[in-house]
Amino acid sequence: MSEHVSSPRFYFLIFAALIVLTGVTVWVAEIDLGAANDVVALTIAVTKALLVMIFFMHLRHSTRLTVLTALAGFFWLAILILITMSDYVSRGVILPVPGK
């Protein structure tokens, strides 16, 4: 199994994309979009993280197992955050007893 070698030019392109996205995220943050600010900021952050993982960290040329491992990390983090959140969003709400 020989590994894939990407060219320096390619790495530089990825780097440029990351810098541009950083600029965009700073710029968008100045504009008041209400709740959408968070969505945009996180979308950009996820995009950047994916760029780093797929190209700098060579996920593109990795085995399925490695990709799965990386995904599992984020999936479990989602479990932790979402289920914990489910407590907080429904706290203090006690619906009336049905039929009473």
Partner: protein, 229 residues
């Protein structure tokens, strides 16, 4: 027992033994795949480690959004943004170091590793000035905390999260620089080449991961209050 059969490779017969091949592996490919997988699994534990903090952040952010925005306003977006760029650049140089190994350019490996470390040190330097600023403005949680905006208590929670998240991130950078120093020495001695460079690769994975953590920390901590004045 029928399940044991004579295998052509007897255990101790490492005839064509590569100097970098550890005894428990059969060949370099197996060794390389194992170390990459091991490193990724380690990164998963890192995701969960920072994940606990992100969870706390998400919960409190959703509860005390106004306080968090106001507190976030006291962070220096310019320094944070510059640091983001520095880190991304360091990721590039790290990737280039591995590329240099892949194409057998020993000197270049060392150059890129040193560049990476310098950029990392720059990041830490900027961080130091940011922290110092927080100290002088009494924004460090504890008995001396002072915050003139509304809702100082929840702002204190924000700064607690800020310090622990960026602090642990910085700690990871310091460890990373230590590892890179060691690898630079090994590269200098010519240990790595196109055939064998998994230590470099693993260190690279680690370095990029630390970069990714910052990619999330930057908008979550610095930018969320940018539009609210």
């Amino acid at each position: 027992m029928s399940s044991v059969a004579a295998d052509p490779h007897a255990v101790h017969a490492h005839a064509q033994h590569h100097p970098s091949l550890a005894h428990q592996f059969d060949n370099l490919d197996q060794q390389r795949e194992s170390s990459t997988l091991g490193m990724w699994i380690f990164l998963v534990t890192e995701i969960m480690f920072f994940g606990g903090l992100f969870t706390a952040y998400v919960i409190y952010r959703s509860q005390f959004s106004a306080a968090f925005q106001a507190a976030s306003h006291h962070l220096n977006v310019i320094m944070g943004g510059a640091n983001t760029a520095v880190l991304i650049l360091s990721s590039l140089t790290m990737a280039m170091a591995i590329w240099a190994a892949q194409v057998n350019r020993r000197k270049l490996i060392v150059v890129f590793l040193i560049l990476t470390m310098l950029l990392g040190a720059t990041f830490l330097g900027v961080k130091y000035f940011e922290y110092k600023e927080k100290f002088t403005h009494h924004l460090v949680p504890g008995p001396n905390f002072e915050f003139d905006g509304p809702d100082p208590q929840h702002a204190q929670i924000f700064f607690s999260l800020y310090f622990i998240m960026t602090g642990l991130h910085a700690l990871h950078m310091i460890i990373g620089i230590g590892v890179l120093t060691w690898l630079a020495v090994l590269s200098w001695k010519g240990r790595f080449n196109s055939e064998y460079h998994n230590p470099l690769e693993c260190a690279g994975l680690y370095w990029h991961f630390v970069d990714i953590v910052w990619i999330f920390l930057f908008p979550l901590l610095y930018l969320l209050g940018a539009h609210a004045h």
